[in-house]
Every structure is written in C-alpha cells, then in structure tokens.
C-alpha cells in the first residue's frame, strides 16, 4: 500500500474512533466492531479496492453523524417541540 493511502486509512480510522466515543451502545461496543471491520479489509492490495473501502468508511462516518443528529433532534423535539 502506498504511504498516501495508508495515511488516508489511518485518518479515517481515527475519525471513526473519535465518533465512537459518543456511540449510544458504548465505546467498547463500537471500537471492537470498527476494528474488526478494518481487519477484514486488511488484505486488500489493489488501489481501487482500498479506495472503495475508504469511500465506504466515509459513508459510514456520515451515517453515524446523521444518527447522532437525529437522536438529539428527536429527544429535543419530544421535550421542547410543539408535540
């Protein structure tokens, strides 16, 4: 794997780990699953495969951010909304 790609993978992993800190089911739950997901793809060697995996990680990141927003919005709407 080229160093540039390697950096990208490590960066997205770090970002996901950071997001996991506020995961509803707990950090340990999140971390073990995230680690497994990355290990499963550790054998990828072709550049396009790796790029596809990174794109998927970016997608997951967006999904988790959306999940957090929705969770907060629903809680706030329940407490302060017009019903």
């Amino acid at each position: 794997m080229s160093t540039a790609l390697r950096h990208q993978v490590i960066n997205i992993y770090k970002e996901l780990l950071y997001l996991g800190r506020s995961y509803p089911l707990g950090y340990t739950y999140f971390r073990t699953r995230l680690h497994k997901a990355f290990t499963n793809n550790s054998s990828l060697t072709k550049e396009e495969d790796i790029l596809r995996a990174i794109a998927r990680a970016e997608f997951v990141k967006k999904e988790i951010e959306a999940l957090y927003y929705l969770k907060k919005y629903r809680a706030m709407s329940q407490r302060y909304g017009h019903g």
């Binding site: 970002e15 951010e65 927003y69 919005y73």
Partner: protein, 257 residues
C-alpha cells in the same frame, strides 16, 4: 451594505442524553462527574452564523465570535464552537459552584462584550436545557435597545434588514427588522454539523481570550435563591383487572362512575 459582526453566546450544560440527578442536600442538580456538552440550542445558533457566512461572503460576515461564561471546562465548549466554524472566542471564567449566574447577569456581561467588540448581530439559543429560563436573549435586547426576534425557524439577510420566520401556534410568523438585532434560535432552524476530529485539531490554533468576572461591571451575587430542588415523583404502575365486573368496581372505587 454593512458587514456583520456576529456574537454567539454558548453555554456548557449537562449532556441532553444524561438523566439529571438531584444532590443529597436538595439544593441543585448533581454536576460532578456528569458528561457535559454544548447546549443544543446554542449549536443551532453557531450553525446559523456559519451558514450566514457560507451563504453570503466572507466580506459580509466579517467576524463570528463565540463567548461562554462558565467554569474552566467551558473552554472545551468554545473549542467545539470554533471547530464548527467560529473565528475566535472569549471565555469569561467563573469558579465552579452549584449556583449558576442568572440570565440578567449574563445579559449584562454580553452587553459589555457587544459594546466592546462592535457586534451588530447576536444569535443565541432560545433557552438552555439546564435552567430553561429563556430570558437571556430578551434581556440582552432590552439592555441594548435593539430589536429582537425570538424562536427563529428561518433567518434571511436582506441588506440592512433581517427577515426571521418563527413557528407559532397554527402556522408561521415572519418579522423583519433592521440591524443591529438579537435573534434566538428554535429547534427546526437548521441541522448543526458535527465537530469532527480534524476540525477540533484546527480549532486549537484559533484564538481563545480568557477573561475574569472582575473585568466586567457585574456583581456576582444572585438575586434569587434556590430553595429546594426535587425529582418528579416516580410513575405509579398500572394494574390489571380480571373481567368486566372487576373493571367496573375498580372505576367505581376511583370515582370515575
């Protein structure tokens, strides 16, 4: 066309997902060792100021200044605000204790900051989720003698004017006011972005000015005293009845028949 200098006051509160507990002395809510984060309504106001800049130009929105008045850890909240897009921030440090500053004192401090920094738009959350006073924005507008638009669900800049849409019973209400103005945010104004790790790292380079309460002409004593804080009574569980007769006798017992 004038340039905007936006002031965004943010508050560090107990995280929305945490169930608050009353302390043993029944004087306040337990805050030690509890997860804190930025008041959700303040996230909306940070997001709205950043969106105003993105929608218009860097020139139109000259400065976005975040301010927090709170314990030393409120600096983390300011970092989050800067990670979301604020340019710089001021932290007015007050010692950590059970009693919080009252909305009037906060409004007075904010007024001094507005005068000093030359802000012409203040965007606040409509209330904080800890004391739910919903007073600071209104008091600040009163002290400054500015127009106010509270509970905004849409904000549009039109030259020197600001058009604010609010959700009211059975519809929406649109108000238009000339700058300078005070706006408070409601829940459906926008979707706040997540302060990502790289942005938090970048925010560490932004300027965070530390101030003390003594730098302002505000007295720290509160006018109100919290007499007692209690938790709501636990919910009484429901009961099952065997048959119709059981139901009727139960209803009679409760005086419903």
């Amino acid at each position: 066309m004038s340039t905007l200098r936006i002031l965004v006051p943010v508050k560090r509160v107990i995280d929305y997902a945490v169930k608050p507990r009353v302390n043993k002395a029944q004087t306040a809510v337990e805050i030690a060792g509890v997860k804190h984060s930025m008041n959700p309504f303040d996230e909306l106001s940070v997001e709205e100021s950043v969106r105003l800049r993105e929608k218009h130009t860097q020139k139109t929105v000259e400065d976005i200044l975040a301010i927090s008045i709170g314990p030393p850890k409120a600096a983390d909240t300011l970092r989050t605000a800067m990670a979301m897009g604020c340019d710089r921030s001021i932290h007015v440090e007050v010692p950590e204790k059970d009693e919080m500053l009252e909305p009037l004192q906060v409004a007075k401090i904010l007024k001094e900051v507005v005068d000093k920094e030359g802000s012409n738009l203040v965007i606040l959350g409509k209330q904080s989720i800890d004391d739910d006073s919903s007073q600071t924005g209104q008091m600040l507008a009163g002290l400054l003698g500015w127009g106010q638009a509270c509970g905004a669900s849409e904000v549009a800049l039109d030259g020197e004017y600001l058009k604010v849409t609010k959700e009211v019973d059975g519809g929406t209400e649109t108000v238009k006011g000339k700058l300078p103005m005070v706006v408070t945010t409601d829940l459906r104004l926008n979707e706040p972005r997540y302060a990502s790790l790289p942005n938090i790292m970048k925010a560490k380079k932004k300027k965070l000015e530390k101030k003390k309460l003594e730098d302002f002409q505000v007295r720290a004593e509160n006018r109100l005293k919290n007499l007692k804080v209690t938790e709501p009574p636990p919910r009484q569980g429901g009961g099952k009845v065997e048959d119709v007769d059981g139901l009727i006798s139960k209803l009679k017992e409760l005086g419903a028949l």
